[in-house]
């Protein structure tokens, strides 16, 4: 059990209020017709699933119902921070995580 800070409600709430949305920033290829099956399968199914820091999406299901970004350590459940999607993307890019 952990507590997440919703960047929209600006409140710390219990994990049970939130829904997990998986790995963050898995962008749909801009031109699906132009890529091969491997690249499409990679987008649909392949995940980083790291043991360590993980950028992920959560939604505040029983609160504001908005999505936001969390950086969580999957080996310890430590949380480095939470951001709105736009701010999270900036922090993610600043870390050099984007492919």
């Amino acid at each position: 059990m952990f507590v997440l800070f919703c960047p929209h409600c600006r409140e710390k709430r219990e994990e049970e209020e939130f829904g997990y949305g998986g790995e963050a920033f898995t962008a749909r290829p801009a031109e699906p017709e132009a890529i091969d099956d491997d690249a499409w399968g990679d987008y649909l199914f392949m995940r980083k699933n790291p043991k360590g820091w993980h950028w992920e999406v959560w939604s505040h299901n029983t609160g504001c119902r908005k999505f936001f970004v969390v950086k969580r350590n999957t080996a310890t459940n430590a949380i480095a921070g939470t951001w709105t999607l736009a701010d999270g993307r900036k922090a993610y890019d600043a870390e050099g995580c984007a492919p």
Partner: protein, 417 residues
């Protein structure tokens, strides 16, 4: 040479106060090179090594284990064995395993306490019952024993089950697989370890793989915490840590690792002589030979490697079990734990070659790998020995996530294991 266990050896050793038993397997130091290295000494990895030695004549095998033997999901599951899966590919694979289970104790000369006490999958809605009828028909066509029972028949076989029409989710019936059951999970690891060791397999504990040496698209060796080990064939059977290993080889996996919790009660007199599972209220329970209720349910929804989950999952699980068995509300729980399960998008395993020559993966069993232990090891050994899949695991190739030939067991049987 291994000395067989028998009632005579039990008797004579008993006369000598059980002194003089030899260790069941040999703990080995790593050699510089092996013909085949298996990463992960859980049930599936040990079974793979055993069948490689026994059926494919490979003699120079090592199993590397980062912790201790059978200390991962093999020791953490709820020990249910069944094969009543909907789709042909999955049903045939799990049925292959179930057939091996039926003679495993004799095969290994080790009592794995396989008990075919039957498995009930309850239906609580009309749609549940339609799905159950469809699945039972599919099972029968595949030569798998399965039957549909109505609520009265279920009540007759499980008197303590709440089948009242006034229940929040009334039981309308069930599918029943008489040949399903449970086995002693630790004994499976110990039995395979002992049998593999007798074939000369090196079991190396406390040896974590930290890197893979790949040259010209071929695996040539592994970097470990106990030095470099050369091998041109490597089979990874690391369950929740498969993505971590795959990354070392530059392979992306369609796997997400989630905690799955289970718990046992204090020991009680026999009260439940079968296995009861319910997808709708989402819980499953059986009673171990020791008398504990063994209870499990769904995964924690976030990915994690922590081997512990969140308390509200326990609450949901307990609620489901009490819904089915109101008399269990006064049972005290003894222990709770979590394991890391490697879930795939189609709830089916990956038993496959990879783009790296000589590197094989057996993973993605998610929440239901224990039941497949001997079958999984058997077909994976074939895959490694022949560098091509066994007919039973051809469909479980990693390539299916590019070709789109998924085997969607989620709706049918993959939800509750």
């Amino acid at each position: 040479m291994r000395k067989d266990y028998s009632s005579w050896s039990l008797f004579t050793k008993g006369l000598r106060h059980n002194e003089g038993w030899e260790p069941a397997w040999r703990s080995a130091e790593p050699k510089p090179s092996y013909d085949v290295v298996i990463v992960g000494a859980g049930g599936h990895g040990l079974a793979t090594a055993y069948y490689l030695a026994k059926e494919h004549g490979v003699r120079n095998i090592a199993i590397l284990e980062k912790g201790y033997l059978g200390g991962g999901n093999t020791a953490r599951n709820t020990t249910i064995v069944r094969s009543n899966y909907l789709w042909d590919e999955a049903a045939l694979l799990y049925e292959h395993a179930l057939k091996l289970w039926e003679s495993l104790t004799q095969e290994l000369n080790f009592n794995v306490m396989f008990s075919q006490r039957g498995v009930f999958n309850l239906g609580h809605t009309l749609q549940d019952m339609r799905d159950i009828e469809r699945r039972v028909n599919a099972n029968n066509l595949n030569g798998i024993d399965a039957l549909v029972l109505d609520a009265a028949e279920v009540k007759q076989r499980i008197p303590i089950l709440n089948t009242a029409k006034t229940a929040r989710y009334p039981v309308l019936g069930a599918s029943f697989q008489p040949r399903g059951g449970v086995a002693r999970h630790d004994a499976v690891a110990w039995g395979f370890a002992r049998a593999a060791s007798a074939w000369g397999v090196d079991i190396i504990e406390n040896c974590e793989v930290t890197g893979m040496d790949i040259a010209n698209g071929r695996i040539v060796g592994l970097e470990t915490t106990r030095g470099t080990i050369k091998s041109e064939r490597v089979g990874c059977v690391a369950a929740g840590h498969s993505s971590v290993l795959a990354k070392m080889a530059g392979i992306r996996m369609p796997i997400e690792s989630h905690p799955l919790q289970a718990f046992v009660s204090e020991s009680m007199k026999p009260v439940l002589d079968t296995v009861v599972m319910s997808n709708a209220v989402h819980g499953y329970v059986s009673q171990s030979d020791k008398g504990e209720l063994v209870i499990g349910a769904g995964i924690d929804h976030y990915t994690s490697y922590t081997q512990r989950g969140s308390p509200h999952i326990i609450e949901h699980t307990a609620a489901a079990i009490i819904e089915l068995f109101p008399m269990f509300s006064r049972v005290r729980m003894n222990r709770q734990w979590g394991g890391i399960v490697d879930t795939t998008p189609d709830a089916c395993p990956i038993i496959s070659k990879t783009k790296v020559k000589g590197l094989y993966f057996n993973c993605g069993w998610g929440t239901g790998g224990f039941k497949a232990t001997p079958g999984s090891g058997n077909v994976f050994a074939y895959t490694i020995a022949n560098d091509e899949p066994h007919p039973l695991n051809r469909a479980f190739d990693l390539r299916r996530f590019a070709t789109g030939h998924l085997i969607d067991e989620h709706g049918a049987a993959g939800v509750a294991h």
